[in-house]
């Protein structure tokens, strides 16, 4: 069972640019991701919003495999800042896990 940490969102959200809550989970991003990363970004953003940091940290390879190419972002009907949100996740992982 995963632990819920309500303050996880505060660690990830460094500015208003982080707008994961705008995601309506339609799945367009996953469908067109050139890397075929089904998890990114909608499921990961949901984990962040729910405070399930453990699930986010279990998916480091997917988070760093993202090309930041914005193919998902230009097709996103909810205008989620997907690339910047992924960068925010990387920032947290660099700090928390890699100690960089």
């Amino acid at each position: 069972m995963a632990l819920v940490n309500p303050s996880f969102i505060d660690e990830v959200k460094r500015s208003d640019e982080f707008n994961a809550s705008a995601c309506m989970n339609c799945g367009v991003c996953s469908a067109i991701c050139p890397m075929g990363i089904e998890l990114l970004p909608r499921k990961l953003f949901r984990y962040v919003l729910l405070g399930i940091g453990e699930k986010v940290l279990n998916n480091i390879e997917a988070i760093y495999s993202c090309l930041l190419c914005k193919m998902c972002e230009v097709n996103c009907p909810a205008k989620v800042h997907i690339a910047e949100n992924v960068r925010s996740l990387r920032y947290v992982i660099n700090k928390k896990v890699f100690k960089i």
């Binding site: 890397m35 390879e61 760093y64 495999s65 914005k70 193919m71 660099n94 896990v97």
Partner: protein, 318 residues
């Protein structure tokens, strides 16, 4: 086994912090391309290479070494490498660039400088004081180290009273035009890619090129910086027939290059997908980004030609 993500990012970030570049390149090699062009040092308008084209032969050499390490017992020792790298430049031993590759990437910068001169632009160059923009470290999300570096770059511009920066690649354009303003209060530089400047100056061709090319847009130009018309205008004006592959323009397919530093195998899979799309349109792919250029060229494996746009432009406009 994949490369250890944290240690690889750590090495790249340490390099930026300690050596001002993600991979080692001597100042002599970074500025060699400008030899004989007699560009003034500094000035109100400068050509800023961001050392991207010069770094590609080093990235290619490093990536070859990484591919070998990725599936071997050596992957376990990358963490040791990070500690050693703080004292000795480890990536310098791993990345020995090919001379012919260095020559062809330097030629692209010469092309760009000559095109700008032909368009009547007066510009200088910062020579050995020019620094890498930090693009890869930004992508990897190491913002604390990037923040210090961004100020170093900006202070060099200020030292030479630079007002206008002409860039040569999409990643540096994006960093200087859209990312730096978020890190520097009162950021006041005007940044344009050389293609935007050439179109703005209404450069006219001297020779007609009756060629057909398939255009590969860089994701960063297309989706971050909205540079889409300029490359087509310059090629069309020169008489080149521009063909569009599946997934083009604003919806261009990424070359896979951004995965290169951490997951070289994933990068090549994506590049092959894009090469197939290009191949279905025609046999000459044209790129405008050094990362797309190297990654697609590697995946094309001589089945089709991939060339930088500047190599076409010099044939038509000089």
């Amino acid at each position: 086994m994949t490369l250890p993500t944290g240690d690889t990012i750590g090495i790249l970030a340490d390099n930026l912090k300690l050596r001002n570049s993600v991979l080692p390149i001597s100042k002599e090699n970074a500025i060699r391309w400008a030899k004989g062009l007699e560009l003034p040092r500094g000035g109100e308008t400068i050509l800023y290479t961001g050392i991207m084209y010069q770094l590609i032969p080093y990235i290619a050499a490093m990536s070859k070494a990484q591919e070998l390490i990725e599936d071997s017992w050596m992957a376990n020792f990358v963490s040791v490498g990070r500690y050693v790298n703080k004292l000795i430049n480890v990536s310098g031993f791993m990345a020995k660039p090919s001379e012919s590759m260095q020559k062809s990437y330097n030629q692209i910068l010469v092309n760009i400088a000559l095109l700008l001169k032909e368009a009547g632009v007066n510009f200088g160059y910062l020579y050995e004081e020019e620094l890498y923009s930090g693009a890869l470290i930004y992508d990897l999300g190491v913002d604390d180290i990037l923040k210090d570096h961004v100020h170093k770059v900006y202070n060099t511009f200020k030292k030479y009273k630079v007002k206008n920066v002409i860039t040569v690649d999409p990643h540096t354009t994006n960093m200087l035009r859209s990312v730096y303003p978020a890190f520097i209060e009162g950021y006041d530089l005007y940044v344009k890619s050389y293609m935007e400047v050439l179109v703005e100056r209404n450069l006219q061709p001297k020779n007609e090129l009756t060629k057909e090319v398939v255009i590969h847009d860089s994701c960063v130009y297309a989706r971050y910086e909205n540079v889409l018309k300029e490359q087509r205008t310059l090629l069309n004006r020169a008489g080149v027939t521009v063909k569009e592959p599946a997934d083009s323009g604003r919806f261009t397919l990424c070359c896979g290059g951004p995965a290169e530093s951490l997951f070289p195998k994933k990068a090549i899979v994506n590049a092959k997908k894009r090469v197939d799309q290009i191949k279905n349109a025609a046999n000459n792919g044209v790129t405008m980004c050094p990362i797309c250029f190297v990654n697609l060229q590697k995946a094309a494996n001589d089945e089709i030609t991939i060339d930088d746009i500047s190599n076409y432009l010099v044939q038509a406009y000089l």
